[in-house]
Symmetry: C2
Subunit: 110 residues, 2 copies
């Protein structure tokens, strides 16, 4: 669901991807990576949705925690040689969240 | 699909939402807003996926084009009083993309 992140600034790692056909160990890897993210210092939350296009956004306290997370991703891809078997294409964007605001029905938060 | 954005820096407006039941004019509004975004100065691309959670990310050249886009969103919500009928909850995050990299199967771009 919508990640309950603290006030900005913080970082968002936007992972946009198109999968290959078949699982090829993808689901197990994805579950493992989500667990790994949650246990990592500086992790603030994650949002993930997939149709044909998939978007997974992880939120982080600072650039140091983003750097470690990115290394974990790269190590996983390198170890498993999974990148080409899991994805037709992906794009990673590392961004600094500067402003946020929200709406919750029935509340008057902002 | 994955938006073909130019090199950073640029801006990402991350719109995470949970819909109410029923359409209530939502689809027509969403189509109109997507068209409006594409015609607006500084628009670089858009990615959108929905399961129960929906994520729509629009990419923009600079903060000025983000500001105008945000005003358009707010005007649409205000005019239609649609916010509460379309969404149970949403969160908007305005972020500055500082680094990006991609993978395309069969290519050696990066």
């Amino acid at each position: 669901m919508i990640a309950n992140t603290p006030g900005p600034p913080y970082y968002a790692v936007i992972f946009s991807s198109v999968r290959t056909e078949g699982d090829n160990g993808y689901s197990a890897m994805a579950d493992k990576m989500a667990e790994l993210a949650k246990s990592q210092e500086g992790f603030l939350g994650m949002e993930s949705v997939r149709e044909e296009l998939g978007i997974t956004i992880s939120y982080w306290l600072d650039l140091e925690s983003v750097r470690k997370w990115r290394e974990n991703l790269e190590h996983t891809f390198a170890r498993s040689q999974g990148r080409a078997q899991w994805y037709k294409a992906f794009k990673v964007r590392i961004s600094r969240v500067e402003v946020d605001y929200d709406f919750i029905k029935g509340s008057h938060l902002k």
